[in-house]
Amino acid sequence: MKLQLILLWLILISSIGLAQELDPLEVRPSLATPRLSIPTNLTTVPVVNPGEYFVPPYVEDIPDDNFGELVKIGRNIFVNTQKYGKRYVGNGLNCTNCHLSEGRKANAAPLWAAYGLYPMYRHKNKEVVTFEERIQDCFKYSLDGIAPMVDSPEMEALVAYAHWLSKGVPVGIALPGRGFTPIKKTRTPSTENGEILYKTQCAICHGKDGLGYKYEDDRPGYMFPPLWGPDSFNRAAGMNKVKTAAQFIKANMPLGKGFTLTDDEALDIGLYMWIQSRPYDPRRSIITNIFMPPPGGCE
């Protein structure tokens, strides 16, 4: 398995620069199965039934006391990490770029589904981690930055925000909508398919080059976040695992059209994202980073 990965890596390196232009008119087998929508223009996206997922409290209901103040700060950090959590962030992302709708959206790793589950055993760290330690990991890898101390004001505010969002959730139970969505692979993912799908389904928002688009006014952060390149998450991030990325993409992307790609298509795009360049894995040495394939390839 390792050998295969290394070979794949070498082939990928040698094929850089050989990528040809795609002809949009050419019929390709991967796209030959059109996504049929019902001719009467009814919705093509599975509609969520009311009550299927937990509904967190509304922003207008944040209490007007000291706790409320802390929650508001936490929300600011979560929504605009580029401004309020600046000293810890190394790239151009905000927490909401991956935890959509301010950490509320089911199947986008919502905070309310996570809060009651920690402390929890995690394979990545091979130990039981607390909620704070989990957030630290997102800072270190997803935001390619440095972890705030567990007793730093930023961390306290973030935990307060998550605590407020999860008002009334049962403790220790994995709620529906937690994490992303499970997927099953039926064939080996292909980067060629991934590239075609990326160009047809994602490029209008994330850019042809995948580097995203900044806001047009001077506010920090991205309107459409980068999927790779120096301002994106690093190689150790959960999103750099082909499977995790595919799970996220399947449930949430293209924005507003979650669950319209098939499992295999999501994996194709996940693999295509994985082969792109992004910041190095901070846990490894430079040499390993340059000569070894990044972690998280498809198993």
């Binding site: 949009p24 008119l25 796209l31 059109p34 996504r35 049929l36 929508s37 001719p39 009467t40 223009n41 009814l42 919705t43 093509t44 996206v45 509609v47 969520v48 009311p50 997922y53 509904v55 509304y58 922003v59 207008e60 959509l100 709708s101 301010e102 509320r104 959206k105 089911a106 199947n107 919502p110 047809t200 389904q201 209008i204 928002c205 688009y213 806001y215 047009e216 006014d217 506010r219 309107m223 293209p254 924005l255 507003g256 059209k257 979650g258 319209t260």
Partner: protein, 256 residues
């Protein structure tokens, strides 16, 4: 002789920064196109009425009659809309331009082939006007309207409507998987790039009408059917709250 490398270095640095500066200049306005566009927009031609009679003398739209504003929209967006108004999917015998297949679109099935069109936009007024325009006209008009400055007049809205509208615009309906309007239409609904038109500064009833058109299938020209999926999940109350919220936003557009 010793100074030469230094001088070379300085020259390359200056040259490099000059090239960088020139490449990063916004492209100049095509003045000829703008004037031709202004002529057509204000005076009209044979069977084309002057756009300004409906869309306002400065392209600012008409709140009372629900004519959208055109001032400050992205030129490519205006061109695309005019093309979509002019396209008739059920007309036979026309030569279709080669278009990229967009499989997320409603397939239109002819007797012998299935076509995935880039979508159409039905409107009794604009369809006829757009069909009379040549591609050059579209470009000229787009250049003219996109370079007009625009300033929105925020409309008064009651507190509760505003709060609900803001919730939709900033957070969407996460429990139904609906993203916020602003995550596509830009912060404060200012619009973003050629694909995402502004909502601020448009007459509220016009916005509601457009969403209704998506729901009834009269409009399906949005890229990747993005807006269609959003529109299909909006209730009548949502439409009104969101439209009121965006009409309450202030907005100043100036061509850079």
């Amino acid at each position: 002789m010793k100074k030469l490398p230094k001088i070379l270095l300085i020259i390359t640095l200056i040259g490099g920064s000059l090239v960088y500066w020139i490449q990063n200049q916004p492209p100049p306005i095509d003045e000829a196109a703008r004037q031709a566009g202004e002529q057509l927009a204000t005076k009209g031609r044979d069977n084309i009425p002057a756009c300004t009679t409906c869309h306002g003398s400065k392209g600012e739209g008409n709140f009372a009659a629900n004519f959208p504003r055109l001032a400050g929209l992205h030129p490519d967006y205006i061109i695309k809309q005019l093309q979509d108004y002019a396209r008739d999917p059920l007309q036979t015998g026309v030569k279709l331009e080669p278009i990229a297949r967009d499989y997320s679109k409603t397939p239109r099935i002819y007797s012998d082939l299935t076509v995935y069109t880039p979508g159409t936009r039905k409107d009794p007024i604009m369809n006829n006007i757009a069909k009379a325009l040549t591609p050059t006209d579209r470009k000229n008009l787009a250049t003219y309207f996109s370079t007009l400055p625009f300033q929105a007049t925020p409309q008064p809205v009651d507190f509760q409507t505003l709060e609900r509208g803001a919730d939709l615009a900033l957070r969407g309906k996460p429990e139904y998987g609906l993203p916020s309007c602003d995550s596509c239409h830009g912060p404060d609904g200012k619009g973003f790039g050629p694909y995402f038109p502004p909502l601020a500064g448009q007459p509220p009833q016009y916005l509601i009408d457009q969403i209704n058109k998506w729901q009834t299938g009269k409009r399906d020209n949005d890229s990747l059917a993005l807006m269609q999926n959003i529109a299909n999940q909006l209730t009548d109350g949502d439409k009104m709250n969101a439209a009121a919220y965006f009409s309450n936003r202030s907005l100043i557009v100036n061509w850079k």
